[in-house]
């Protein structure tokens, strides 16, 4: 009798073990809900870009969510809320507070203004240890990460690189010792990038006869325009957003001394027509990474198909799109939605070694990560190669040019070493 009971117990144990071994992989999968929040200027001056940023982030989250549903995995992603920073630090902090304290998000996608990011990160994200993937390019954002793993991640090359890229591009077009007048908006983005360019340009022997930092909110910019045409420059560099650049461009035209074909713009001026403003034929501008990924056309097609009517496509919003995938895959590898655990895997997900996957192969990427394999996620903007300090190491820049028909297109891509 006792022997029968022992045999029965052994048989039951074996069948339990066998059943456990044959359980589908999903039962051994991590189970969590990754909550995203979007922080962007949805109204006011940055609205045209902010709406696109929000739409791209939402597109990515919906894409991941539907993939997970199709695969019947116990992992969920959701866009908890999109908050409007209005492009101002004060409003950005308030919006970030709502995302973190009330909505309990794990990851914030935004802001793309460096000034808003700096304020929101310092006041909200870092104290609460919530990750931020920002479109801000001010180099000082990297310094906000005072400990590891980083909390603020910049999927686009910072302005200290953009300044170098601009110096390279302008030197190539007008000669390294050309006289270039610089006009920049008076905020963290404009004044910082202008200073970086000035240093790079003068180091190589170039001169800057007029260096004008202007308040974009002035009623008129005629005085600034008149200053910018003084000194017989060989060319111009403008650092501004499209809305306010138009306020400067018109008095520049009225001076009769400005040539758009000898003018260069920062990444925010690459295609003003797409942002509800207008382009100036001949003018060139840079943009980091934005269209250099193999999956960029697919992202663009997805946006065209799914984004709301009236929201214009802008290449830089691919950064928001990529950030969602990076955060999600890092969470999957960490098997957790806890921000600091995600942060510990961002570098791993975006660097070699590992099989390369784009968002188009997200199912395969999910299977690989779930199986414990190392992957290398390549964004729509190209390889990201995040480093532990929160910056990307891949430094490709598109050169855009405004066309006679008012549109803009990439004419060349350069790689900074």
């Amino acid at each position: 009798m006792r022997k029968d009971r022992l045999l029965l117990a052994a048989a039951l144990a074996s069948s339990f073990l066998g059943a456990a071994a044959s359980l589908p992989a999903s039962a051994q999968q991590p189970s969590f809900t990754l909550k995203f929040g979007v922080l962007a200027g949805l109204t006011g001056e940055p609205a045209a870009s902010g709406q696109g940023w929000n739409a791209s982030a939402k597109l990515a989250i919906d894409f991941v969510a539907s993939t997970l549903e199709r695969m019947k995995l116990p992992v969920k992603v959701e866009l908890t809320d999109s908050q409007d920073s209005q492009g101002t630090p004060a409003q950005g902090v308030e919006a970030a507070q709502k995302l973190v304290q009330i909505d309990g998000v794990d990851v914030i996608i935004g802001d793309f203004y460096s000034s808003v990011t700096s304020a929101a990160a310092t006041s909200v994200a870092i104290p609460n240890k919530v990750l931020m993937f920002t479109g801000g390019t001010n180099p000082s954002l990297t310094k906000l990460n005072t400990s590891q793993p980083s909390i603020v991640w910049q999927p686009v090359a910072a302005d200290d690189q953009q300044g170098r890229a601009l110096a390279l591009i302008i030197a190539d077009a007008l000669g390294p010792k050309a006289k270039i007048n610089v006009g920049a908006r008076n905020d963290a983005y404009g004044s910082s990038l202008a200073a970086v360019f000035k240093e790079a340009w003068t180091r190589q022997g170039g001169t800057i006869p007029q260096y004008v930092i202007y308040n974009q909110q002035q009623p008129t910019l005629d005085t600034e325009a008149q200053q910018l045409v003084e000194g017989s420059p060989d060319g111009w560099l403008f650092i501004d957003f499209c809305q306010t650049f138009e306020k400067l461009a018109q008095p520049m035209i009225r001076t009769g001394k400005w040539d758009a074909a000898k003018s260069f713009g920062s990444d925010t001026l690459n295609d003003c027509a797409a942002r509800g403003s207008k382009n100036y034929p001949g003018m060139r501008a840079t943009q980091a990474n934005a269209s250099s990924g193999a999956s960029f056309p697919a992202f663009k097609a997805l946006f065209a198909k799914n984004a709301k009517q009236g929201i214009a496509f802008q290449p830089f919003t691919a950064e928001a799109f990529d950030s969602v995938f990076v955060a999600f895959l890092a969470a999957l590898e960490a098997k957790s939605a806890k921000p600091m655990e995600i942060a510990g895997h961002v570098v791993d997900i975006t660097n070699d070694p590992g099989q390369a996957y784009t968002f188009e192969q997200i199912e395969d990427a999910i299977r690989a990560v779930s199986a414990g394999q190392k992957i290398h996620f390549i964004g729509a903007t190209g390889p990201l190669n995040f480093s532990p300090n929160g910056r990307v190491n891949a430094l490709a820049y598109d050169i855009w040019q405004h066309k006679p028909d008012g549109s803009a297109a990439v004419i060349r891509t350069i790689t900074l070493k």
């Binding site: 109204t43 308040n215 005085t223 018109q250």
Partner: protein, 295 residues
């Protein structure tokens, strides 16, 4: 160098035109209704967009569009006064001012939702310029200055010589005494809003013309300069706002003249405006034209 100075004076007059015209409406409301109307900037924005509809969509010429915007903005100001501000009267300056902040936010977002964030332009070629050898000025800027030079003295005459203008001044001076004297202060209050809205209407369209392009943040961008104009000129003084606007515009632009030890950097222009205000108030706390009496 002298050509630069001449151009900067013209630029200062152009900037001053906008501040003067928009400051008068704000100071009248403050002096007579005792409300710091933080929605005043949005009245300019409303006027600019109304002008855009009349000029671009309906094909009216700029003058007709300006008149239409003036009437529309005046109607808006009166409507908000009757529906929102009048029922809340008596809550105190701070509370009423906060209400106007809310009204401003509401108006700005309404314009944004209806019109979108795109840059807009009136049907006027902003690249045309009159080259007068010493100075260059666009037709739009010249028209703005000309209109202000007509409107400003007309307004002063209206306030000084007409029964309605005198009644407004009486209410501003001493509301209780004016009421006892038989003046219908409520009706005067409505007329003040009508006048302030009308002036904001003209100011908004001219601002859009002078600036060349605009978006829903048009009026908000200059709100604090408008209030600086009001305080500089003396709160409640229409003359003061007119003069204060031009003084502010000239100080900001001419300060960048290279003859002043290289000139002030352009980004410090608003700083200079506030420094000028502080210095004036230290010497003359009531502002340029502020006294016990208001105009």
């Amino acid at each position: 160098m002298w050509q630069q100075l001449a151009q900067l004076i013209v630029n200062g007059v152009i900037t001053g035109t906008i501040l003067a015209l928009t400051g008068v409406g704000a100071t009248l409301v403050f002096g007579i209704q005792r409300i710091a109307n933080f929605a005043h900037g949005e009245y300019l924005t409303f006027a600019a967009y109304l002008g855009l509809i009349l000029n671009s969509a309906l094909g009216l010429d700029l003058l007709s569009a300006t008149l239409g915007a003036m009437l529309g903005t005046a109607a808006l100001a009166v409507a908000l006064h009757l529906l929102v501000l009048k029922p809340l009267r008596g809550r105190g300056l701070v509370a009423m001012s906060l209400v106007t902040v809310g009204l401003g936010l509401m108006l700005r977002d309404a314009v944004f939702i209806l019109a979108g964030p795109q840059i807009r332009q009136l049907r006027i070629d902003e690249t045309v310029v009159y080259d007068l050898r010493l100075v260059r000025i666009s037709p739009g800027q010249a028209v703005a200055v000309a209109i202000t030079l007509v409107v400003a003295p007309s307004l002063a005459l209206f306030l000084a010589r007409t029964p309605l203008g005198k009644a407004m001044r009486a209410v501003a001076d001493n509301r209780a005494l004016a009421e006892i004297s038989g003046i219908d202060v409520d009706r005067i209050g409505t007329y003040v809003w009508l006048l302030a809205g009308g002036l904001a209407g003209i100011g908004g369209v001219l601002f859009a013309v002078v600036q060349g392009s605009f978006d829903p943040t048009l009026g908000f961008q200059v709100l604090f300069l408008i209030f600086t104009t009001v305080v500089l000129g003396g709160i409640g003084s229409a003359y003061g706002a007119l003069v204060g606007g031009f003084v502010l515009g000239l100080v900001m632009e001419v300060s960048t003249w290279s003859g002043f030890a290289g000139g002030l950097e352009a980004r410090f222009k608003p700083v200079l405006a506030f420094v000028a205000l502080i210095l004036l108030l230290l010497y003359r706390p009531q502002g340029l034209f502020g006294k016990a009496r208001v105009l």
